[in-house]
Structure formats: C-alpha cells, structure tokens
Subunit: 361 residues, 2 copies
Amino acid sequence: MGVFPISPGQSIGILGGGQLGRMLCLAAARLGLDAVILTPNRNSPASRVARRTIVAAYDDPDALKRLAKLCKVVTFEFENVPATATEILNGLGAEVAPSPRALAVAQDRLEEKTFLNGAGLPTVKFARVDSEAELKTALRRLGAPLLLKTRRGGYDGKGQIWVQRASEAADALTALGRIPCIAEAPADFQREVAMIAARGRDGEIALYPLTESYHENGVLRRAVGPAAASRKIVAEAERIAATLLTALNYVGVLGVEMFERDDGALLVNEFAPRVHNTGHWTLDGCTVDQFEQHIRAIAGWPLGPTAATHRVEMTNLLGDEADAWPRLAREPETRLWLYGKGGARPGRKMGHVNRLSALRK
Amino acid sequence: MGVFPISPGQSIGILGGGQLGRMLCLAAARLGLDAVILTPNRNSPASRVARRTIVAAYDDPDALKRLAKLCKVVTFEFENVPATATEILNGLGAEVAPSPRALAVAQDRLEEKTFLNGAGLPTVKFARVDSEAELKTALRRLGAPLLLKTRRGGYDGKGQIWVQRASEAADALTALGRIPCIAEAPADFQREVAMIAARGRDGEIALYPLTESYHENGVLRRAVGPAAASRKIVAEAERIAATLLTALNYVGVLGVEMFERDDGALLVNEFAPRVHNTGHWTLDGCTVDQFEQHIRAIAGWPLGPTAATHRVEMTNLLGDEADAWPRLAREPETRLWLYGKGGARPGRKMGHVNRLSALRK
C-alpha cells in the first residue's frame, strides 16, 4: 500500500479506450493525474484525451510491461478483461483496481448470482445449465418461461433468449452456441433502478442517489437521477450496494442494476465492476461525478460528496441520433457529451445528453 | 464562413500548452471535438489531454502549416501570440479566433486604452511615454504618482513601476528597459471586479455573472462569483463587456478586468482576449463554463447558458501550495483542479480550488 495515494503528476493505467475510458481520462486530468490507455484500437475515444496510448492486445505481455512501468495502478473500463492481463500486471507490481476477484465474479453470471445470494442479496431464481437435460430440469423446477443466458460474454441484450417450454430447449442452447449457460426466472418487475457506489482503499463507502433506468432492446436508453423513490426503497438499495462493496472488498466505482417488483422488493439483476452508463447523469447532477469518484478511489484519495445538485435525465445518443447535435447544443437545459467515435453504426453509443432541472423536494 | 459550425470529430487548434489550453482541451472533448496544441514546450499541461501536439516555435512556418492542415479554426490561450503566426495561419485558410485585430489591441496597453476610450468605455487617464521628456510631461499633466508600464509584454504585475516624481523618470524608464511605455494615473478603486463575456459568430452575446477578484503582488489570488454587487454596477459591467465585444467584432470568450471606484463608477483596467483566470469559478459554478463557452463560440456553435448554479470562491494554488492536495481533496465543498505542471516554482500557478456554497439571494 506504500504507493498510495497516487500523487498528481503520476499516471493511471486504463484497459480499454471507449467512452468510459475517455471520461475517466477527463476526470483524472482535473486532478492532475495522467492517463495511459491500453487498447487494441487506434484512435480510440479515450486516446484522444490521454497522455499516452499503447495499441496492443489486452493480454500482450510486452504492452502490459510498458503499462506497468508507467502506472502503479491500472483500472479498466469493461468487464471482459482477460484474467491473464490482471495476473501479468500484478506480477509486474502494478495494482489492478477493482480487484481481479471482483472482475472474475462479474464475468460469470452464474458465479455472480451465486456470490450475491451468498452475501445475502436477493436475485431472481436461477439454475446452472450446461446441457439440454439441465435446462429441462430448470424449466420443471423454476417454471416457464426462463431467460437463458450465456454465463460469460454478452452485453446490451446480446447472448440471451427466452425459453417457454421443454421442446425449445435444444434450439435455444444451439442459438447461444452450446456454451455454459444460466437459466433465470422472470423478475416480474415494475421498473429498473440502479445505484452507483464507490469504495475507497480505506473501506470508506460513498453511494450516489438512486437512478431509474429504462432499457430498449436490452440497451440503456434513459436514466433519471435522483429517482423518485420511497425512503424504504432507497435504504434497501443502499444496503444492497454497501453489502456488495464490502463483500467484494471492492476498490473503485461499481454500478448495481436492480429490479423493483410490484411489492416493492428489490432484486439484484447484475453489477458492473466499473463506471456505468446509468451513472452518466452524475457528470452534471453531482459535484463529484462517478468518473472522478472512481479515480479518487483507485488512486487512494478520499472519496468526494455524492449528493445531487440537479435532477438529470440522461438519454443515450445511439447511432445517427448524435447527428442532432446542432439542435441539442441549442437547448439551454441540455449538456451534450460526445464520445469522438468515427462510425455511427446503428445502435452504437455515440454520446449522451444530460437534461437538467431543479431537484424535486 | 462555410466551415462553421465545426462538427464533432473535427479539430480545434490551440496556440499555447498551459493550463488554459488544458482546460480548453477538456471542454472540446466533452463536445466530441479534438484539440491540437502548438507549443514550444515538450510535455505541456495541455498536451497531456490533447489529440496531438506540435512542438515548435509559435511562428514556425512548417508547424503552422501542419496546424492549418489539421484545424479549420485556431485559437490561443495567451495574448502574446506573434502577429506573424496569425498572418501565416490566415494565409493558409485557417481562421484565427478571436481575431488578430482583438489580439493586436490587447497586446499594446496604449492601443488598448485608446481603443476602449474610443468605444466610449472609461479607463484611468493615461499618456504615451516614449521618452523621459514625455514621462515628465505626463507627471505634470496627470499628476503624481503614475504607474509606468511597458506597452507590450509583462503580465502578473511584471513590467511596471510606480513613479512619484520627475526626478525618478530616468531610473524608471531604465528599469523597464527603455522601451515604449504608457503612464497611467491611479485608479483609486475600492475593489476589482471582472466579467467573463462571450460572443458567437452570429453576434450572439452571453455574459457571466460579475466576479470579484483579489490580487496579491500583481497576481490573481482569489476570485468570487457571482460577486455581491448592486444591480446598477452589474448593469454597467454588462454594458462595458457587451460594448467591447461588439466594438471588436469579437468571437470567443474574453475577460474584462475593471476597477470599482468609491463612487461606484467602473473603469476598465484591461481585457484579455481569451479565457481568463477570473473565470475559473465557472468550471463548478455554471452549467456551461468559460472553456466550453469559448469552444462553442469559436466553433460557430450556439452559446450556452451563463447563470450561476453555485456561489464559488476560487483560490489559485501558487508554487508549493499545490502540495496541500491531500488536505484539499478531503474538503467536501472543494473542487480541486491541478494543471499537471512539473516544477512548482514559487508563485507559479499550479492549480486552483473552487469552494462551492449556495447562491445568495
């Protein structure tokens, strides 16, 4: 722990060059810290605002050696970081935060839900599915329908399929590539909420206001923070987030996505061991946003305040929606964030807008 | 004007790699614009967050050619840009904003005050001083003491000296290097105020709340925005700023420094044709800060709102004061901005803090 806190003038390593890395770079710069990006892509969104970029595969030993030489602490902006990368970095004396343990749990949906339940946190019912027989057993035990998901990989609604009956089991498994899966019971929720939560190196915890999130086709469309919610719901979400941070001995920011059921109970859907799209509203709604908070946490700095200063409605700009920037730039209540991506493929996250209004009492 | 507005994905050129350039880079990035820095210094604060850096003298024709090829619009973060640089850039088809005219006026204190008076804006009394005889005449006509300043160069209180009587004239001129000077009568002010003002390519004007500023040894120490001030003072400051923007046919952000006299009259001290230290409070006190506003203006975008969301007290961190970052990072009301500078020479601006409080009604 002798290297912490990381001092201004030193560098933070970031695996991944997407928009989350980009916004981490901007936050690091405010605090006088340099960012070094490792990404396989040239001209990544993050590289444009980073001190240095190493263009290489995430598990390239030479690249990781260069990164470890420049940075005493390395973080990541996506959860599918290969385990070998973190092992190599640790072996070279670079601390990876959040920890490889948090990463491993989050990378496997079966491990994740098992871990959550083990920590006393509620999820939907689920079953391991490695074969057609196991899927049929799950349908019998948990009832139909079930949401079949690959245990690893998949995001934004990819790698999952609903199974209504036993006769569909074989096709469903084939559609997902016959790899290890998890079958989940429906959540029967009235809405989705999320909490951005941070934990420092000394165990200090800072929780942001609850966020309400809206998905379309498995992709986050909108998020509103602070969410309108009863004190009881907020307290339960805070209990869930704090319990998870502590159980993982977590360092950094994470996003917990939850279902709010009709009876007011919260179920954890999943967590992301990184800054999260449902927390982009904090960029304009809180004095310390999730990106600065993450940098503070992994650098061993004290955490910042998390209270909201504005109510913010965040809307993702997908594909050519970002072409509306001239109109959006004209809206006085709207703060525009564009990610510097070249090609506007349909559905690709090109930016977001934060629309500000006064806090509701 | 066919190149405006500059679209996301395009680049903004910035002459100068200091902290103002750095904060311009961060603002440009939020809007999806890349920044290209031209600076003679390696590892400048701005370079660490810029897409590209060209390390060369400001008047290096090859460097300017590279810059003009990358950027349709070029701005600057300091006012002593050599006129040849802007001429070369214009010749290469790159638009320089603010205009070379604004730069030329601001670079020469005699031209500046003459221009201000010509636009109907009040200043202290002053006289051209090219010789000992002229300084003695000025002392006779304007009275003593006078503040003798070099017409060009000098900043943060450098290049100026008080002259009490005619017998000191020769020594004073020698101390300043016997170059063209201006002699100014004292302002007899009760406090200093400043206004950050922006003008877009279509003539749209946006004015920030009045700022109160406090200098020590000629260097800005603190600035508070919005300043406590009567409606009359604010209106007069707004009239001055708007008149100046229009008279210069200005594009971008400028900072006007003013003296508030005991009788409530405002005198213009000077203006800086760029983002300004007295506007750093807007980073945390307004939804669109002066840096984003400048980028919007020069890129031909609509200007953003300027209303304050918080009262902010900005304090510069000079020299080793920035070493207090671990304590400052712990203050919940304090937002820390560090510039990524290597050597903390005494008096050097290493960063600033913005201390937030609720707006006063």
